[in-house]
Symmetry: D2
Subunit: 415 residues, 4 copies
């Protein structure tokens, strides 16, 4: 089996043939197409439609759609590697791609690992075909709005967006913020709480419904002018008595909540984008110091010891990130051991904070020119700060969670 012609974002590894093929595809698209366009989405804060055309043409919108549904059938680990590779060339594309892929990953591979009753399984298998078809046949894009500005996205309260059962479907009401792909997605996979009419919203009743972008009562509002990840166009969504049919239910009742308990790795899918960014910052730095950045004067700056030490430190941290990331995605499974779950949290923190550490050191090491917008480093520096802020596993919430879980076994309390 031929080796890869490049070192991928996760580093050299004994990849499967399928992984090598997909990594090569992602790498080539990223390098030849996405990299040059990244500045544009950033400047305009516009969605990377051109990249999605390429992803669609390459079949990558259906990366995680099971083969029997016409997709590429990539598993969790393969997706994570591919996503990291895309993140090297365009953070905004990798991050929005994640929202889309998750809607197929959760309903596909991940759902397969969630215990369901026979009836639930039958219902799920029946329904997901519709969504997979839309992706495979129509090239549909799914978004996955999550945050609401309350404690829900942190996993500490039920979502405030609600769905009430009505004849033939659901009535959705509520509001999402930081909704990536707003205005670009064909469907919004909305997490909401079933409104059972009893005023006691319960996180166990979380529903996962696809809201078509054309639905009546659905609206997008608000400004979007952030520091980084600007092409995600993460504006606000409002749902006012939006009716969606039963078929839009992406998971059976109660299964999202069970999935969140069963498959903690489902919340780790924002990380590959940032591993990609860290690689990009490191790669740029090496190329810049070697005088090999196209369009820049071929001045070598690699002979200064302080720069060499800085590059060594960047590489050490990058290898830490790659290793914990790769281990976490390879050992991801339903009901992981406590040890593996703690490692998953640690991987999230390591990648999100590490990307920012490396990006800022890269700017310092490359110097003044690297602050200019015709070079990618300043964008990476801005994008890289966003990862630690993303719910439900912000850097702070990970620290909270790890401290508590390390010191308290389930159910333990102090008087």
């Amino acid at each position: 089996m031929p080796d890869l012609a490049f070192t991928p974002a996760v580093g050299d590894h004994d990849f499967t043939a399928a992984q090598r093929e997909l990594l090569t595809l992602a790498h080539t698209l990223g390098r030849d197409k996405f990299a040059a366009r990244a500045a544009q989405w950033d400047e305009e804060a516009s969605f990377p439609f051109a990249n999605y055309e390429d992803l669609r043409a390459a079949g990558l919108l259906a990366l995680c759609v099971p083969r029997e549904h016409g997709g590429l059938g990539a598993d969790y680990a393969t997706y994570m590697m591919v996503a990291a590779e895309i993140g090297r060339f365009c953070g905004t594309t990798a991050l929005t791609y994640n929202m889309h892929i998750c809607s197929t990953l959760w309903t596909g591979v991940l759902a397969d690992g969630i215990p369901m009753s026979e009836a639930q399984r039958a219902e799920h298998v029946g329904r997901r075909g519709l969504h997979f078809r839309r992706v495979v046949e129509d090239g549909a894009i799914y978004a996955q709005p999550f945050s609401e500005g309350s404690a829900a996205a942190a996993g500490r309260a039920p979502f405030g967006t609600t769905a009430r059962k009505v004849e033939g479907g659901w009535l959705v009401n509520g509001r999402k913020i930081f909704a990536s792909l707003s205005g670009a997605a064909d469907y919004y996979g909305v997490l909401c709480t079933e409104d059972k009419g009893d005023e006691k919203p319960d996180a166990r009743d979380t529903l996962y419904l696809a809201v078509p972008a054309t639905s009546e009562g659905f609206a997008i509002s608000g400004e979007w002018n952030p520091l980084g990840m600007r092409g995600t166009v993460s504006r606000n969504l409002t749902f006012k008595d939006v009716f969606v049919s039963d078929d839009e239910q992406l998971m059976p009742r109660g299964i999202y909540w069970k999935g969140a308990q069963t498959w903690p790795a489902m919340f780790f899918t924002l990380a590959p984008t940032y591993l990609g960014l860290a690689n990009a910052a490191y790669d740029f730095t090496v190329r810049y110091l070697r005088g090999e950045v196209p369009g820049e004067p071929p001045v070598k700056r690699r002979m200064y010891p302080t720069k060499q030490v800085a590059v060594a430190q960047m590489r050490i941290q990058l290898e830490q990130m790659r290793s914990i990331f790769l281990r976490a995605v390879l050992e991801a499974r339903p009901e992981p051991s406590k040890d593996a779950r703690m490692r998953l949290y640690a991987a999230q923190y390591t990648v999100m904070e590490g990307a920012n550490d490396i990006a800022r050191l890269a700017i310092r090491t490359c110097g003044g020119q690297s602050m200019m917008k015709h070079l990618p480093l300043e964008r990476i520096y801005r994008d890289s700060r966003c990862g630690s802020l993303m719910l439900p596993w912000t850097a702070e919430l990970v620290l909270d969670r790890m401290g508590r879980e390390a010191l308290y076994e389930p159910g333990e309390k102090d008087e």
Copy 2:
């Protein structure tokens, strides 16, 4: 003597009455005028002309012009405190203000501490009056272009911009990059090497000449679209046989070089801007977590222990920065002891890197909202990365210099 009504950027201290007055003036201008305008210069990458109107009206353009020349007569330490105060509200204003002030500080207080022959002293005292008059009477703005893209700005080679003596003045040729206030300054205080016709440029022959913005042969070129400090409009300057009269010589021959040896603190004047930014990031964080940012919902987030720990860490670092900064500016003098010189380098590194440390932790602590451009934190995060890149005392060059000077006494070598 009444206390200050606020804690200044350097922290509480037994200020003189004049310092208290100037700090209050700077604080008030910054808070009431500059803060609200900062987003505009940043967005447009345009020079803060409106702020300069205010500075001019308040007499602050002449802050360091000696009293006998009609200025406010502030000394080095006072200037540094005032500059930090301005930096809290607008980094770009503080940083450009520094370039302007330095032209009066170097020729004023600092020059007074540089040994000169009687003839040199007479020449200098004679000439500087012209420049002081321009500032005091005409409200002129002086820039101070430094970098050239070679090793000169790092202090390791003579400047490549040259001045050749001609009848009644000098002919200037060359190029400056990262020239803050380009297009906004009335005069450009250019550091260049005297061209003695012998092909052996020598850093001892550095000249410091004021080039009027209207000079023939002087041109501004290049894009300016950087990560941060965007209102400095630091484009390129080219000098093609630019004639300036003898009166434009800001220091006698050989004195700039002597000054650079004598007064290392003259290279520390970029730091207050960044101390101001660090204060701004900290202050915003406290206010945000207390639910007290005007225009934002009054939601309190201060009760989360991880946020409290983060604020404590930010404050610890801020106090380190304030203390080493204040000590460095209070002990600044000609011919400092080696101990004081090492401390000055350490202060530069501490403030420049610290501002970025605090800014990025502030974003992480305040969370997703703080990335949006209607709030100041994301701009501070961008501005804060620039300090460590600024010549001649970049973070890397400071490390180099300190390592060497700590381990080698002057003149020592290893075989």
Copy 3:
């Protein structure tokens, strides 16, 4: 006024003549006497009696006894500088010296800044003469046991050691742990809670009583075999119905508690020892890399860039420590502003953690030889870890306190 012949632990500064003299005295004693003995106290975990002989002979046991009582009348800042100087040569001596000095500092200069009624003032002035006399005339050593293993030493509960008023004096009962100078002190200045017989111990009723080492019912127990600061011999003390006469009351009723509120700087006196250690680690590293450590081969290792960078980093951190330390001790006063109080906490954290940072980097930079016990670095590495653990201002408690005080003004609460 002649300059110092050395750079003191706090760095060059415009010292008073008295400070210069005392610093020279401390430096000379430390360099010529204490340094060579330090390994012995460490190995044996024995009290540095020989050093106390020297301190006594030099008058330094009475450093903070007011001049009118025959002492040297040093103020708070002067003491702190002198203590740091001693800490450069022997951590254990500086740390125990602090306990002794505090008993004269609290009852002397600090008490002068605590508001008292006229009667209290009279009582205090009357009684302290006795203790000062013991120090000045008899060369007595006072210890200051503090920790009890409860929340008291952290300032969160009343001390469990109690004193009940009886005819002509007090009956003391209880237990102290980590009691430095156990077995070496002539008097133990014990903090205890007045037992008013009503079962409601109140921190406001803290008493500060001197217990003579010869008292009946007083006993020393327990092992003392710690990582570092071994010469402090900090064993356990038990008090069983120990009677002390009224004269042994070191402060009037209620004044210790008021003092702790009024004079937060009284809890910062453990820091100079660690500033001294940091200086020692840095100094050793420079000397070692220059091949100038007496008794070691004159091999130069200073030319390696990674070593130069490490020394630069050590020096930067040392200067941060020195600057925040010096500012904190110079601005120490009763009822400091909130800004100054936060800085004091920050100084404590900065010095305690910084000493350990520098020590461990020093070992890494000097390499394998520096781990050996015939050189001081490994002892400094061990000693340096102790500072962050010392109550009431451990590194953790400082973080707690700063986070809370930064975000809550006195009296504020969240629902």
Copy 4:
């Protein structure tokens, strides 16, 4: 296949059955035997003979002796996991065990991956049987002295210890320092340079010879009183015309040097000890804060948020260390890719510095009691500092190497 009953030092993983068995053996020995004895070797700076009795009895001295030679046939990765497990309970045992095991690993599994001529292979296969027999049948212990105090151990110069070919064997002359197991080993596997009589020592001529402890002309000298890893008894060895027979040649001429080029992972074998220490520090902290350390009062301290945050940080770093370590040992092979080699260096740095980071934070988090010698943490703190100092891959040399190799491809130079 049954899961492990404990989480091993490298974390949960899909181990082979043999690995599970060996990990259980090492864990049980460590927990039940080595842990309790660790304080003794540390206090006395004495070799852990009792532990070696247990290792011998368990067959673990022959862990890496190929099965066909009567050993357990463990491969590189398995050894590394087992060593980390031992390191959790006694650093000194794990570190000395490494020296012993390496003599069987280099001549066994590693040598199998080094290209040799047929004659060399035949010679090697013939000779190693003798050494394996000594280990398997006699329970012999091999040491592996390396450092000489010159640049040789850093890989920058030939070893100064020499061997001259004589009839039937070699004459060895020279000196080794930091020679672990001095006085305890039966054989010393000495790296030396062949003395060809031409005064041009060449690292390619490195020989690897076993010197029996009983050899004439062999002597042990010097003090051994270090900070940590005290039971390694790493004194000096001198060789004065020591004759060893041809059979003592552990590798054919030129093969050690080739091996060092081919198998960089052979220099990573000091790391597992320190991964073990990091686990030990973390485990102790969790147990201590939960009030579960045997012999200590069952006081819970886990409810303090600053302690929870500290534990989270320790765990994050531990997971980084575990992941990069595990990846490095699993991908170790002859002629690794450049990417894998850089990762190996990064793993070394990460583990060595990380162990010290975690140990010192553990002490700070557990507080004053944890400094006492009846608890293991203070020993771990001391031991943990040694890893970064160990040649040939000290923390500094790794930084050097990585900076250079990242920026220069083989053979590249700047003018």
